[in-house]
Amino acid sequence: MTNGDYYQLLKLLAPEWTVVGTVLAILFADLQFWRNRSVAWRSAGAASILSLGFAAAAGLLIWKRAVTADLLGGTLVLSPTSQYVKLALLGLAIVTAWLCTEGEFTKHVGEFVALIALATAGMMFLVSTENLLMVFVALELVSLSLYVMTAFNKRSPRSAEAALKYFLFGGMAAAFTLFGFSFLYGLTGSIHLPTIAAKISWHAGDPLTLVAIVLVVAGFGFKIAAVPFHLWAPDAYEGAPAPAAAFIASGSKVASFFVLGKLLSVGLPGVGGSGAWKAFSPGWLAVVAILATASMIFGNLAALAQSSLRRLLAYSAIAHAGYALLAIIGGSQPALLYYAITYAVTSVGIFGVVAVVENRTGNEDIAGLAGLRERSFLLSVALSVFVLSLAGVPPLAGFFGKFYAFAAAAKLGSSLGYWWLVALALGASCVSLFYYLQVLKQVWVAPVPEGQGKVAGGWVVSILLALLALAVLVTGAAPELLIRFLK
């Protein structure tokens, strides 16, 4: 490797450097200059620095959007698709940072916002690599940042409890992933995904290959909260500060789905086996089909019983992980990314509404939304758009996300072998309408409780929520606007 390569590496990683520089700038400004300011002032300041830095990184990404590169044996792999996914991640992080201005859950806002930026840097590395070592290190950077963000509300026992549960499950998942990677390395002698793909098919049907697949899928199943690796999700969503929960539900999901899809379709295409009806054969398609089935059934049924809004969102996230796995089974990267990005935009929006409402009313139940139509019209409309999109009502983005994912799975194989999975997904979507409409019933039908005044977020958060709702509407009405970037 020559010096020219290092220089090229530095140039290609300019957006990532900008993000890391933003981390340092936030910490420096907060610790050096803003010690005597109020928490609200400091959180707005930190979010502003993050927005500026990320806007610069986004500018660099757009400027170099047509880049393709493959350096250091797959350690850094750039393609137009990965650039656009990074843009989406930056946008989600900016919204998350501004959510910190709703509610004072900590005095150390500078550190919290810096952690958001650090996690974003990890996600950006995660989506631009085809090397197992880089995947592992970037994944841990994201995870460790998110564990700490979950625990940030030091006054709340639930925040600490949520973080401990998230961490202990996450640590085990990381160990599973690493153990699985070690077998992939042992079977193929390489940690470079295309090289693994070329050699792993010699070992198709080998028990060790199956063990490796199950371990790797289990590790990533934790990150995307697929049943039976979902146990942390409801507690983390409930106990974490709202911005942390929003980022776990959005950015982390996009990056994890992207890298899981890439790992399975680029790294292990020869050992898929089959999950088709009456034609099961062992391989990752069968494993993922089982996870998708369990997630869709369990997530939707458990969501029916929830009274806490955040737990409802957690179980709905589990169900949505099941739907998105259909796109992975279908092997369609545009469908998967469209689904993951629109889902992330929707859930960060919902958590924005949740943050504002909880901050003003202190009520975390679905019943706390009662009569929201008269207390804040903007929040009611935005929440309705988000919830209907999650339910998959056309013409919102959630409908087309599900449509592409289900269509990808249905087209796979010769004789519609995956019809059972698609039928199950359609049935599960119908069940999910019930609990989504329960939320909207509180907003639009339930009587306004006595003594409850208006609810209003800060103006930046209100504008961002309106923009997110608009984005869900526009990408749903004209999905080609988004999906042409993801092909």
Partner: protein
């Protein structure tokens, strides 16, 4: 039995012991110890596959293990910080006591 088989047996045993510990222990720190055992089992695998693999002159396995050790150290630091956070609220590091959220 070749030496590689021996190492793989040991690492599988280590992974199983770690997993059993992580699942059955009630003390958060001992769960963390179990997780560390699982990570080290993976490290042992990497080293064995590198040493007895087709091209040991490429240092892939060793590099992976070095990074994994560093990551495991960072993870232990975060984990112990979280245990302290739990201890402040519940005066205990027992994971059963910290179980207020259900449903």
């Amino acid at each position: 039995m070749t030496p590689l088989h021996g190492y793989l047996f040991v690492s599988a045993l280590l992974f199983a012991v770690g997993l059993a510990g992580a699942l059955t222990r009630r003390n958060a720190i001992l769960v963390l110890v179990g997780v560390e055992l699982m990570l080290n089992a993976a490290n042992l695998n990497f080293l064995a596959f590198w040493r007895y693999g087709p091209n040991p002159e490429a240092l892939t396995g060793v590099m992976f293990v070095l990074f994994a050790i560093a990551v495991a150290a960072a993870e232990a630091a975060v984990g112990l910080a979280l245990v302290i956070a739990i201890y402040r609220h519940y005066r205990s590091s027992n994971v059963d006591e910290a179980a207020t959220m259900k449903g």
